[in-house]
């Protein structure tokens, strides 16, 4: 299974964190530090895999964002790279040419999309169409913009 997924910028700013097993906050902070320093220190055109403790770390850079996925030892590295890619495609499809800012300002959406795709550290649905359909379906359930916009901002 996958253990965690982190998205961070080239400056090491964390943009999204998803933990698939319960971990204490302290431990999380330590892992985030380790991952950002390890991955950011890699030379370009190195391989995308690292061993870290008993896990494999798969990372890939998309524009200014690093996607860093930790998988258990027996899992398949190449497929993990494609998990990252499929997630990027899903974000792209939803936001239309996704960029780092979309994820910052709509972090909750980034989580919802991820939840449709993965669950409990395993793949739930690989079909782009199926995931998009459920995201759209849940957007349909939302109250209209106007209703919200009429509410006070603070």
């Amino acid at each position: 299974m996958m253990r965690f997924l982190l998205l961070f910028s080239r400056q090491g700013k964390l943009r999204l964190q998803k933990w698939f097993t319960p971990i204490s906050e302290r431990e999380k902070k330590k892992i985030i530090r380790d991952m950002t320093s390890m991955v950011l220190a890699r030379q370009p055109r190195s391989c995308n895999f690292l061993h870290w403790k008993d896990l494999k770390i798969i990372y890939k850079r998309y524009a200014s964002l690093y996607f860093c996925l930790a998988i258990e030892n027996q899992e398949n590295e190449l497929l993990a790279l494609e998990v990252i890619h499929r997630y990027v495609e899903l974000l792209d499809k939803y936001f239309g040419n996704v960029c780092e800012l979309d994820i910052i300002f709509n972090f909750e959406k980034a989580y919802f999309i991820l939840d449709e795709f993965l669950m409990g550290g395993e793949i739930q649905e690989t079909s782009k169409q199926m995931v998009n359909r459920s995201i759209e379906a849940s957007d349909m359930l939302q109250e209209t913009m106007e209703e919200y916009m009429s509410k006070p901002a603070f």
């Binding site: 964390l14 964190q17 097993t21 319960p22 204490s24 906050e25 902070k29 030379q43 190195s46 391989c47 995308n48 895999f49 061993h51 008993d54 030892n73 027996q74 398949n76 590295e77 190449l78 497929l79 494609e82 890619h85 939803y94 936001f95 239309g96 960029c99 800012l101 979309d102 910052i104 300002f105 709509n106 972090f107 909750e108 959406k109 989580y111 939840d115 669950m119 409990g120 550290g121 395993e122 793949i123 739930q124 649905e125 690989t126 079909s127 782009k128 169409q129 199926m130 459920s134 849940s138 957007d139 359930l141 939302q142 109250e143 209209t144 919200y148 916009m149 509410k151 901002a153 603070f154």
Partner: protein
Amino acid sequence: MPAVSKGDGMRGLAVFISDIRNCKSKEAEIKRINKELANIRSKFKGDKALDGYSKKKYVCKLLFIFLLGHDIDFGHMEAVNLLSSNKYTEKQIGYLFISVLVNSNSELIRLINNAIKNDLSSRNPTFMCLALHCIANVGSREMAEAFASEIPRILVAGDTMDSVKQSAALCLLRLYKTSPDLVLMGEWTSRVVHLLNDQHMGVVTAAISLITCLSQKNPDEFKTCVSLAVSRLSRIVSSASTDLQDYTYYFVPAPWLSCKLLRLLQCYPPPEDGAVKGRLVECLETILNKAQEPPKSKKVQHSNAKNAILFEAISLIIHYDSEPNLLVRACNQLGQFLQHRETNLRYLALESMCTLASSEFSHEAVKTHIETVINALKTERDVSVRQRAADLLYAMCDRSNAKQIVAEMLSYLETADYSIREEMVLKVAILAEKYAVDYSWYVDTILNLIRIAGDYVSEEVWYRVIQIVINRDDVQGYAAKTVFEALQAPACHENMVKVGGYILGEFGNLIAGDPRSSPLVQFNLLHSKFHLCSVPTRALLLSAYIKFINLFPETKATIQEVLRCDSQIRNSDVELQQRAVEYLKLSSIASTDVLATVLEEMPPFPERESSILAKLKKKKGPGAVSVTELEDSKREGGELNGGGDRGPDTASTPSPSADLLGIRSAAPVGAAPASAGSLLVDVFSEAGTTTTLPSSSLFWLLFVCKNNGVLFENQLLQIGIKSEYRQNLGRMYLFYGNKTSVQFASFTTTPQLNVQTKPVEPLVEGGAQIQQVLNIECLTDFSDAPLLNIKFRYGGALQNLTLKLPVTINKFFQPTEMTSSDFFQRWKQLSQPQQEAQKIFKANHSMDTEVLKAKLLGLGTALLDNVDPNPENYVCAGVIQTKGQQVGCLLRLEPNAQAQMYRLTLRCSKDSVSRRLCELLAEQF
């Protein structure tokens, strides 16, 4: 502000995020956040009831602040309130907050559970999925207790929507992983297996993760999945790239599902049914063939997905380890990847070949790539790739190429990254010892190792070279000459001084004939290093000096002078001072004879048995046994020369065992991925059987109450066992007897621990017997016995059998005598329900008193007389010694001769021990 904001927007949130981004400094950010926190707090506390939208917005802001890395200590209640909102987005944000922020021991769990219960029964698929996600994310025990029985029902119910099925399968998997005891197998299990046939690919993809995990734990119950998996795989592999619509990924049909199917098959031995097996082999061949076809797309996603399946197929081929043809094809395919322009593929090929190297069918094929791998070690730019290359060299090393590989690794060490040096040093030391044909090569290698990477040479490595030199006459002169030369270097590592001091102190006489290395020259050379060394090394050198006085009387005056000087005899370090004083005195008052006796050459070290190491990983529950090197725990002290405990003076030579492996059981050694528990099962539960053994559990049970006897016997082989236990340690002698008149070739035994160790002779002559010794240490209590895998060739046929070793928890009993009152007092103290295990069962054997007594004594406990008021009953007491803790156990056995029944009661300070002992013993009477 971003241009897009689909669905609803929370303007306040966006404004806040912009504000934070505009902060020029960390301080400004913190100030802005504190202002916001104060605002939210006052809103939540205010008397005016907040509407759902505001609540959602503030909870979302809190979430954002938390994700920035700040602590959040309020707002949980508001988030829980959102769960019961009937507006979807509010509910969704509530669940997100809980998933991210609520840890499993929160007191809010009960409230959350309530909301989840409502959503699960809502029959609204979107709400159900949200609830299932939340359970999977939090995954606490309380949630498992509340929902573990409900979710299987949702999963297999006929009217459940596909999307809910997918979530339910993965949610159940999560619960099964955290609380397996709460997920009860039942009628649903067989229906889950049939989800492999489901029309909806998404459902199959999700369900197979669950099925794989369940199969690993309960292989028998789920074995029908094998044929289903094979037929599903075969359909996917043979489908055209467009058949599966959106489940085709960059022209590769269902890569995720294919890999999962191949992974599931790795939980099982090759299918027994010929048709199923044929179909599977066909699939594997097709996958290998496809690798040779031109790519359907230039995109890296295409090749990644395709190769992911290929690597998974190769893993399965390696797991089966029974199809030489496929193994060699796999090896050739990986060989191509070794030179691929994609770094990722080179990395994976190196990694995957490591496992191929340990299969006898493909070992030779792997070896043909040695030049490429050496080249990778020299030229790869990426250190992680070089590391894999080093691992592979280690794995492919055997007698034929050891010299070349060791030389390459040594030269790599000079530039190796610091992070991997220590591991490299150990590997070189292990290989040098394991494949040493002439020991001068071994000595050279280790000395080179110290010269190149002295800081990374652990004590065990240099202890070992000294042990070997002492035990082998033929290499002593050479060793003395070599260390003497090595010490000439102006700067040499302290470890070199240690080895040099020790060896010259013992064997300096062998080179003293040469005037260039006369006694005084030797002494001056050693002493020139003295002041640069640490205290332990100086202590060792002092011992070398006194040995010199014995070896070379002509150095006596010079050495006494050195010992007498203030810096020695008044040294502030007590150890050094004491040595100086004692050695000085010894050299001045003892006669030559006495001196010669006291300072006699070290006797050979007792032979080291082939060692077994690594830890048996936790397989089930809290138990784990470890079989480790005994020497590990009683390793020699800081100095070897000054005397100390020595073994018996038997002249013996050390077998080139993999002794060093035991030294650092934590260091990853080569191909054996000894770290992952579940992997152990895959790699070691060798499935390629040509003769499968009928369960030998009957034989095995006999050993619960006895330590010696025949563990296994068939027409070919007899295995006898002698074992002894003390405290938490044990030693087991295994005797493999060849009952035929024909030689057994390639005889290997692999206790389910480490594949590197090849402790037995590879040939067993007809009628002959060979012996193997296992050292065992009990780390904590355990239930599953370690397995022993034995492979050999008899005639042409490969024989493969796996036996349970008769190591059970009761072997570590220390009997405890106690009086009747003590006994009942303790009995009462252990009165918690889970501490007791009880069984009523029918007598299977004679109920004769003497037989029973013998069995109870064999168990290892003390049999207490006059304790139980009923003289017919038996009462025993003992303490189980594990490394970490002691477990007190009380036992009561009540026979009923008329009914031919027993009642057995156990009370132990640890509940898992009670249960295990009760299970074990119920089979004994």
